[in-house]
């Protein structure tokens, strides 16, 4: 028998139910692989002792009803977990212990899962390489010195390296899909409103959405089902029935119409990405889908729009970190000095940059020129998608303009770092669901992902199309655990 930690989430749930192994054996297997993974720096907080105890109790009670019964899961350290430190990768929250549980993690625990630990991420989810965390860089298991992507970089590395059966991340401009693409894993950003944002450390509230990150599409459907749903505590969560994504999952996609947007063929795009995209088109044709060329004319304005909207919302959201109610506090001779020193010492460089950009675009005299302008362009971007979806069922694009890059390569040039999210950001602006599915390797044996974008609340169609691609791409992660 192969190692338990190699198994998919779906196999683990089934295996526990069939008594092939116990919850305790599963938990011990992931703890053992996690303990040997220090070089990857995926964990900020480990809850291993408590996880073992929970697993032992589970094995005694034998309650197999939940979708995730008996399986431990580590989550991004952006989800508030009751009595477990929650840092958002920031010094300013280094000592914050929530007295409440986020709705989406609570949903997982209601389905029989329990917490394995809290995973590293870019500070306040601001970053595309996991190099902005106060707790250090995360390493991609595909190579020493390679970034795992961001901001859910710890989550992506942990799934790829078999340190957790699956995980949940958050995606504001690509923070689930880009690291999934960089690590050969599956990551889905649900429709805005599909999952509750209550209890998630806020970055940009009109864009943030939590979603599953898994080893394959089947697991992704299962985890999405477990975490989704309306929540009266989040006024933007939508009261709409959650589909049974798992039982409806099928690779039969014959007749579905797939749009190929010409604007995603960007300048200087590596030939390999273009080839991957063409291969994706061939896979879907082979599955019986119909390919249509489409246009999303405002695509090139998505990133500049995002870099007004997201920092503006972030500067408001992060105003709460003032050294009074929770988190880090610095000394000061008066209240203002205390605020200024606390925020100066507590926030890292990228977070400061974004707070300042946000403050600038919202400041007196600039609001109309920047924020209002951005909200108008955001409407145009949304209109592009609305129009396109009159004739098609989903859109296929690459997930990222390149494979994983080296640590330090883009760290000092914010704009070149932002360009990583060129294919993912428009989807957040339009509030649509999108998934990254691994579809091949580049010449350096680094994984590459394809992105499928769906209509609002039609996660099922993009899951089905991803399954059709997965079966044909026959992508396998072949990694020796060099880090252990």
């Amino acid at each position: 028998m192969s190692n338990i930690s190699d198994f998919t989430l779906t196999k683990l749930v089934a295996g526990i139910k069939k008594k092939d192994f116990t919850s305790q054996e599963v938990t011990e297997s992931f703890i053992s692989s996690s303990e040997k993974s220090k070089k990857l720096n995926t964990y900020i907080t480990q809850c291993f002792d408590k996880a073992i105890n929970t697993a032992k109790n589970f094995d005694k009670k034998k309650d197999y009803k939940g979708l995730l019964a008996g399986v431990p899961i580590a989550v991004k350290d952006l989800f508030c977990t009751k009595n477990v430190k929650t840092t958002a990768g920031s010094k300013i929250l280094h000592n914050f212990v929530p007295t409440y549980e986020s709705t989406v993690t609570n949903n997982l625990w209601s389905e029989g899962s329990f917490l394995l630990g809290k995973l590293n991420c870019d500070e306040f989810a601001m970053g595309s390489s996991n190099e902005t965390s106060f707790f250090g860089n995360v390493t991609n298991p595909f190579g020493d010195k390679l970034v795992p992507g961001g901001s859910s970089g710890g989550s992506a590395s942990a799934v790829a390296a078999n340190l957790t059966p699956a995980t949940i991340g958050t995606d504001t401009g690509g923070s689930i899909r880009q690291p999934a693409s960089f690590t050969g894993t599956v990551g889905l950003k649900p429709t805005y409103g599909r999952c509750s944002r209550w209890g998630i450390v806020a970055f940009a509230s009109s864009l943030d959405q939590a979603g599953p990150m898994t080893k394959n599409v089947e697991d992704c459907a299962l985890l999405l089902q477990a975490m989704s749903g309306y929540d009266s505590k989040d006024s933007t969560s939508v009261d709409r029935k959650v589909d049974n994504y798992s039982s409806k999952l099928t690779e039969k996609v014959k007749g579905l119409k797939i749009g190929i947007p010409k604007e995603y063929r960007v300048e200087n795009m590596p030939n390999e990405i273009d080839k991957l995209w063409k291969r994706g088109i061939d896979y879907l044709k082979d599955a019986g889908a119909v390919i249509k060329n489409i246009s999303l004319p405002h695509t090139k304005y998505a990133l500049p729009t995002y870099y007004i909207v997201a920092p503006a919302e972030a500067s408001s959201n992060l105003a709460r970190y003032d050294g009074v109610k929770y988190g880090h506090r610095s000394k000061g001779n008066n209240l203002f000095e205390m605020y200024e020193n606390t925020r100066s010492e507590g926030f890292g460089d990228e977070v400061k940059r974004r707070i300042l950009i946000g403050t600038y675009v919202l400041s007196s005299g600039y609001y109309d020129a920047y924020y209002l302008k951005a909200q108008k362009v955001r409407q145009l971007i949304k209109n592009d998608f609305d129009k396109a979806f009159n004739d098609i069922d989903a859109i296929l694009t690459p997930s990222t303009p390149s494979a994983a890059f080296k640590m330090g390569d883009k760290k000092d040039d914010p704009v070149s770092m932002y360009l990583n999210d060129i294919f993912t950001v428009p989807i957040n602006l339009a509030g649509l669901p999108a998934i990254s599915v691994p579809a091949g390797y580049d010449k350096n044996d680094l994984p590459l992902g394809l992105q499928l974008i769906g209509k609002a609340f039609d996660e099922q169609t993009i899951l089905n199309l991803s399954l059709a691609i997965e079966k044909r791409a026959n992508f396998k992660i072949k990694l020796k655990a060099w880090w252990s």
Partner: protein
Amino acid sequence: MLIDKDTVKHIAKLARISLDEKKINNLSKDLSSIMEFIEKLNELNTEKTVPLTSIINASLRSRKDEVSDEKIRDQILKNSPEKNEEFFVVPKVIE
């Protein structure tokens, strides 16, 4: 430079972040390159476009106007860096 050093100082004050000279210099450069990137939006004529206000096509639910004090004062105070019985403590504001 779109965002000169004085502008950085001004917005840093608004955002309550203290910065030393070196940081101010670096930020002036970084923020200017970000704003230059953002200026691309000026190519578009949006005079007649209605700005987006909500990404979901649903009106907000209203709830009953009921007091929902869950008696969680101690929980709220639990993470405060400095507290005194039932109050947050801050440096003196009024002389």
